[in-house]
């Protein structure tokens, strides 16, 4: 392995010999929407264009009510969810359970042998409930990150995904998100940018929805106060050093 490493790098170096490093152009000026109301309208428009369903809410009780209605309409009996403290509204989970929906526990990482059995149990869930760390207006994308209390399979496995996104997390573009929230990528094992429901066109380019991931994605774009775990997280991430080595240990501390 080390032999190949050295040989590959050596071949690249001898190929490069004498050639200057090619300079890069200045980035083209993007004109992101600054005004927040049009930013949110754009997000809604683009998310709906890719087949997501967006619900807007400016009251906590309305948000809870809407989630219950979505789950009820879809006949959801079993739900997998991020832990209450990782959801933007901590009382949401209790309301769902009070409404008669059964919670399927996420797998326990310590127990590798029974893992596949636990995941098979998760696979029976009718819906997944998550928060989001961002939204991208010009593509209608939601941004999710993994972490303790935030199983990834919640947004991948069930046929229905319900996601609560605070409107202050909507960024104009992917580039804008990377510029402001790059640290979230550094300190999460998995950051997912999800743009609409799962789709394929592998058979004659005919669009078909829900091939592996969810068939339906409901986004609650909320304006009201949240117990905003995302904000504190972003603040923590911002203080993390640029050094990759440092970053790991600090990341462990913030957990």
């Amino acid at each position: 392995m080390n032999e190949s490493r050295g040989a590959i790098l050596e071949r690249i170096r001898s190929g490069r010999l004498g050639a200057p490093v090619q300079s890069r152009l200045d980035p083209p000026t993007l004109i992101p929407t600054k005004d927040s109301s049009s930013l949110h309208d754009r997000f809604v428009q683009e998310a709906e264009a890719v087949g997501a369903i967006v619900h807007r809410s400016d009251r906590r009780d309305l948000t809870v009510e809407t989630v219950l209605r979505i789950l009820g309409d879809a006949g959801v009996k079993r739900l997998i969810s991020w832990e209450p403290n990782d959801l933007p509204i901590s009382e949401l989970m209790k309301a769902v359970v009070d409404d008669g929906v059964q919670l399927v526990d996420p797998p326990t990482p310590a127990n590798a042998e029974t893992l596949s059995r636990e995941w098979t149990a998760m696979a029976t869930a009718d819906a997944g409930l998550t928060g989001a760390v961002g939204g991208l207006a010009d593509t209608g994308t939601i941004v999710l990150r993994s972490g303790p209390g935030r199983p990834r399979l919640t947004w991948l496995l069930p046929p229905l995904h319900v996601v609560v996104l605070h409107s202050s997390f909507v960024h104009p573009t992917l580039s804008a998100f990377m510029g402001e929230c790059g640290e979230l990528v550094r300190c999460s094992s998995h950051v997912a940018f999800v743009t609409g429901p799962s789709r394929t066109a592998d058979i004659e380019q005919t669009l078909t929805i829900g091939v592996h991931g969810p068939k339906e994605v409901h986004i609650l774009l909320v304006d009201h106060d949240c117990k905003s775990i995302e904000e504190s997280e972003a603040a923590q991430a911002a203080t993390v050093s640029d050094e990759p080595g440092d970053q790991m240990s600090k990341h462990d501390l913030v957990q």
Binding site: M1, N2, S4, R5, A7, I8, L9, R11, I12, S14, G15, R16, V21, Q22, S23, R24, P28, I31, P107, P109, A112, L115, T120, A123, D138, T139, T141, G147, P148, G149, R150, P151, R152, L156, T173, S175, F177, M178, V185, S188, S189, H190, A192, F193, V194, G196, S198, T200, A201, D202, I203, T208, G210, V211, H212, P244, G245, M248, D252, Q255
Partner: protein, 471 residues
């Protein structure tokens, strides 16, 4: 790379005679092309963004060694492991060793062109492992025992009727020609595969040097599941797929989705930075296999630009040759215009020198390329190399040798033209030659050859000058 058993000419004849293939290609390449145009139109200044994307790619390649080292250091610092493979065999051995040492029995794969290049599936299956492809198109061709015919739509050569029949035969489900039903069948068949496999193998769209992140995009979500449920994630990646920073990644993703399918962003864009860190799910181990397989040798050569390719497939859809013959006729993993450059460049010993001939040099590929790769220039360079190395067609060489002698001696040229004119008169029908004699019959296999005009251009000009002199 595997060598096809038939010659390129035979494969092309085969493809052209395949009615089902023509239907499938007609239905899809057109749809891809129009979606791409619409997708790029949604960028405020698509041309400037493409120029910028190109400059990022060329900059990265011009100091690839530095970026690879940075990438390796960062993958390692977040708990991943990097393996370097000089060739296909070494890459496959690395993966097989990982599987064996960790008692892996079942492997689920998401689409990876690099693993097609190394023929990883065969290696793993001969090693006694169960390997299942999870991309719908790849799953279809795996059931059919075929290879992909398009970079991003592997089963593009099949009509929906053929897919329906295949699923009915292999899975025992009722025959249908409804893609929605077929997709539901695949979803339920693959569910358990994701959850029961111990190892997930994916490709990589981009590796980010500054963070050690892997960017993997799919519309189906199959890669997301492949890299989440199994205990071990192995990512296969060509050494050229590096971008320096997350900002650069954002630019590349912007042009990739639009050029590939016309979407503004692929449905699932996953950024993976190391294995799980106290998360309830996600892989415990992350291994990145960096494959060279002839790439490093291209740095600093006339064809080094081919390494800038981001595998969107737009040049395939735009190519008038690909539109007619499809991907399999190329006989190589990478088909279309980019494949015609990449394949002979990566595998210099293989029978690929004929691939650069499969182009009219119309430039449609360069026109649509999101990073403006000058494919026609490299096709010409490869053709020249073939001639210089003596591998080209003997008759073409003799023909050009004769032409050079004649063209540098006007009297001989005039003489030759009049002899050829007399000769063609012996064969023509209604002003057309239907069949040229050996060694030229391939000229007339699928088209007629016009008879040489009764008077040459120089003769016409001479007469005109005489005529004007008389006035």
């Amino acid at each position: 790379m595997n060598s096809p058993s038939m010659s390129f000419q035979q494969r092309v004849s085969h493809a052209l005679a395949d009615g089902q293939l023509r239907i499938a290609l007609d239905r899809t390449t057109e749809r891809f092309t129009s979606k791409r145009v619409a997708g790029l139109a949604s960028l405020p200044d698509a041309d400037a963004v493409r120029d910028y994307a190109r400059s990022i790619r060329l900059h990265t390649l011009s100091k690839l060694d530095d970026y690879l080292e940075q990438f390796e250091a960062n993958v390692t610092s977040v708990g991943g492991q990097v393996h370097w493979a000089s060739d296909a065999q070494e890459a496959n051995e690395i993966v097989l060793d990982l599987a064996r040492s960790r008692s892996v029995k079942r492997v689920v794969k998401s689409k990876s062109m690099v693993s097609e290049e190394t023929e990883l599936n065969q290696a793993l299956i001969s090693g006694g492992l169960d390997v299942v492809e999870s991309d719908l198109g790849e799953y279809i061709i795996q059931l059919a025992g075929e290879t992909p015919s398009h970079i991003i739509a592997p089963a593009v050569h099949k009509t929906r009727e053929q897919v329906g029949q295949l699923l009915a035969d292999k899975l025992g489900v009722p025959m249908t020609d409804d893609p929605v039903e077929m997709t539901a069948t695949a979803r339920s068949a693959l569910r358990d595969v994701f959850l029961q496999s111990e190892m997930g193998i994916s490709g990589v769209n981009f590796g980010v040097a500054s963070t050690g992140s892997l960017a993997i995009v799919t519309n189906e979500g199959n890669a997301s599941l492949t890299v989440t449920a199994p205990r071990i994630h192995v990512a296969m990646m060509g050494i050229e797929r590096i971008v320096p920073t997350l900002d650069d990644l954002a630019v590349m993703l912007l042009v990739l989705a639009r050029s590939a399918t016309g979407q503004k962003l692929t449905v699932y864009t996953d950024l993976l930075t190391g294995p799980r860190r106290g998360d309830p799910d996600g892989p415990e181990e992350l291994h990145v296999v960096l494959l060279d397989n002839g790439r490093s040798r291209l740095i600093g050569t006339e064809v080094s630009e081919v390494l800038a390719c981001i595998r969107c497939g737009a040049c395939l859809n735009a190519c008038p040759v690909y539109q007619q013959i499809g991907g399999h006729a190329y006989g190589s993993v990478y088909s279309g215009p980019i494949g015609a450059v990449l394949t002979p460049s990566l595998d210099r010993e293989g029978p690929w020198h004929v691939l650069p001939e499969a182009s009219s040099l119309c430039g449609a590929c360069r026109e649509v390329c999101p990073v403006r790769i000058d494919i026609p220039r490299m096709l010409l360079a490869l053709r020249a190399e073939t001639v210089h190395s003596g591998k080209g067609n003997r008759w073409v060489r003799v023909g050009f040798w004769l032409y050079r002698i004649a063209a540098t001696k006007p009297w001989l040229f005039r003489c030759g033209v009049s002899v050829v004119r007399q000769l063609t008169k012996m064969f023509f029908v209604n002003g057309w030659l239907l069949r040229l004699p050996s060694p030229l019959p391939s000229w007339t296999r699928s088209r007629e050859f016009p008879v040489i005009a009764s008077r040459t251009f120089s003769e016409e000009m001479r007469d005109r000058e005489k005529g004007s002199g008389d006035e």
